[in-house]
């Protein structure tokens, strides 16, 4: 049985910020739970789809045929979301990409991708259960576990995928992740945006069709 990917009409919007973990949220009452089961394709390179407006993810400064050049990952280091040190790192890696046909990232070095880098993986399967959600990514057996309607522990032992808790807000699954460790080549996105132990990611999954 080959898995059939659903069309990518599942929207995931996420926010990554270096802020204190949000814990202790109580889940609102839910009457129906959206069905996110099955395999979801994400054929978007490289990585995240920027929002049309407002603070959003980096885009590729290297262009080819009018669009981002996947062969050269030069993140827009002028994006105002970046602090100076982060911008300098993105700029340096962009120069490496031009000079050396790429730079190491967790994906091409076969390390766990971490969150949110793993969101760029081409295929993701979500298994929903009342008390937990398991997310299995198509590349290199990467698995995430989301505890539903629970709080983060007071002390989180850092791990590759951190501590994820989730809840439903109507038709939307909200996942809150803290405690990511910065392992080898850890980065937020394909452009090499660095991350710190204060990384905090919130994902919002919603069916568009």
């Amino acid at each position: 049985m080959n898995a059939q990917s659903r069309n990518f009409a599942l929207l995931v919007a996420f926010a990554a910020a270096a802020v204190a973990p949000d814990s202790g949220r109580s889940a609102p009452a839910v009457t129906t739970v959206p069905d996110f089961s099955g395999m979801w394709g994400h054929p978007w390179l490289p990585g995240f789809e920027p929002l049309a407006s407002g603070p959003t993810s980096l885009t590729n400064r290297s262009r080819r045929n009018g669009t981002g050049n996947i062969l050269q990952l030069v993140g827009d280091y002028t994006n105002p979301i970046l602090k100076p040190e982060a911008a300098a790192t993105v700029k340096k890696l962009g120069e490496m990409s031009i000079d050396h046909f790429g730079f190491p990232n967790p994906r091409n070095q076969c390390w766990p991708n971490g969150v949110p880098f793993v969101l760029s993986v081409n295929g993701m399967e979500m298994l929903q259960q009342p008390d937990k959600i398991t997310m299995i990514y198509q590349e290199d057996h990467q698995v995430r576990h989301v505890r539903m309607n629970q709080s983060h522990p007071a002390q989180v032992t850092p791990s590759w995928y951190g501590d994820s808790v989730g809840h439903y807000e109507g038709d939307t699954l909200v996942i809150d992740t803290v405690g990511m460790k910065a392992g080898p080549f850890a980065m937020v996105d394909w452009f090499g945006t660095p991350q710190s132990p204060a990384l905090h990611v919130i994902e919002r999954y919603r069916l568009l069709d």
């Binding site: 049985m1 069905d35 298994l127 299995i136 698995v143 576990h145």
Partner: protein
């Protein structure tokens, strides 16, 4: 692809019960495997296959008495598994020739390869012999997902569907399953030849066909799998064996094989901490 039911076990049970008027009434409900994790009972004894009562025990490889096996944790110097090749009449000569060469090298000092130490998938039925970390089952109405905690090795078992007409070989092949009363039956084909069949590093062909029968033999505590291995290119006859697992009340944690082995040992796993270009 899968559609999830929230009352997973209940959903499966109901579907069986609702169809009872036109189909055979199941003697038992499907097993509820989605209970914490299941740890291979052979973990701390060095593993090994248990014979199915009444089946030819000589079809299972055993240690060469000239080179005793010492598992980890005994206080003595551990040794590797070296099969007594002459004692198994069921394995074809090409496979024994490969094993003989490998055994000679291991006896001479080479490290014997296992899936876990090399951070490779174990294949089938190697998956059922995984130890030290538990296996978890996620049961849905149309699918069972198995996750071995060690390096998050995942198997996907699609329920009540036939095999594909053409299966592209992979580490865990194509698995289909169904419930027979209290037993989950899994049929797997399409396995690549990168894995070993057992802990004695027996090779196999792409004709390898593994059938598993998973059943809880002690309520909520002991899970047993009886599997049958059929590979006409490697074995003269199909053979069977048993693995048992005990329930462990633990959550599925994160364990990254390459990271752990790099820190504890050095098996030559490719690792790069800084770019070389």
């Amino acid at each position: 692809m899968t559609k999830c039911g929230y009352a997973l076990l209940l959903g499966g049970s109901l579907s069986l019960l609702l169809s009872a008027s036109s189909a055979q009434v199941p003697a038992e409900l499907p097993p509820k495997l989605d209970l914490n994790g299941w740890l291979n009972q052979g973990t701390f004894g060095g593993g090994g296959l248990l014979p199915v009562p009444g089946s030819p025990v000589e079809f299972l490889f055993h240690q060469d008495p000239a080179h005793p096996f010492v598992p980890n944790g005994t206080g003595r110097q551990p040794t590797y598994r070296v099969a007594d090749l002459d004692a198994n009449p069921n394995v074809k000569q090409w496979a024994k020739d490969i094993m003989k060469k490998d055994n000679d090298e291991v006896i001479a000092g080479k490290m014997a390869k296992t899936a876990r130490q090399s951070c490779e998938p174990a294949g089938m039925p190697g998956y059922d012999m995984y130890g030290f970390q538990p296996i978890f089952f996620l049961q849905e109405s149309k699918k069972v997902t198995m996750i071995f905690t060690g390096d998050q090795q995942v198997r996907h078992v699609y329920l009540d569907v036939p095999h594909s007409a053409n299966v592209k070989p992979s580490w865990y092949g194509e698995s289909i399953g169904h419930y027979e009363g209290d037993t989950l039956v899994i049929d797997t084909i399409g396995l690549n030849t990168k894995s070993f069949v057992d802990l004695y590093r027996t090779p196999h062909s792409e004709k390898l066909h593994v059938t598993e029968r998973w059943r809880i033999i002690e309520a909520d505590s002991i899970l047993e799998v009886r599997f049958t291995v059929d590979d006409p290119d490697t074995y003269y006859k199909p053979w069977t064996a048993i693995q048992r697992f005990r329930r462990v009340p633990t959550a599925m944690d994160e364990q990254v094989c390459a990271e752990g082995n790099f820190l504890l040992f050095d098996y030559g796993i490719p690792v790069a901490y800084k770019p070389d270009f």
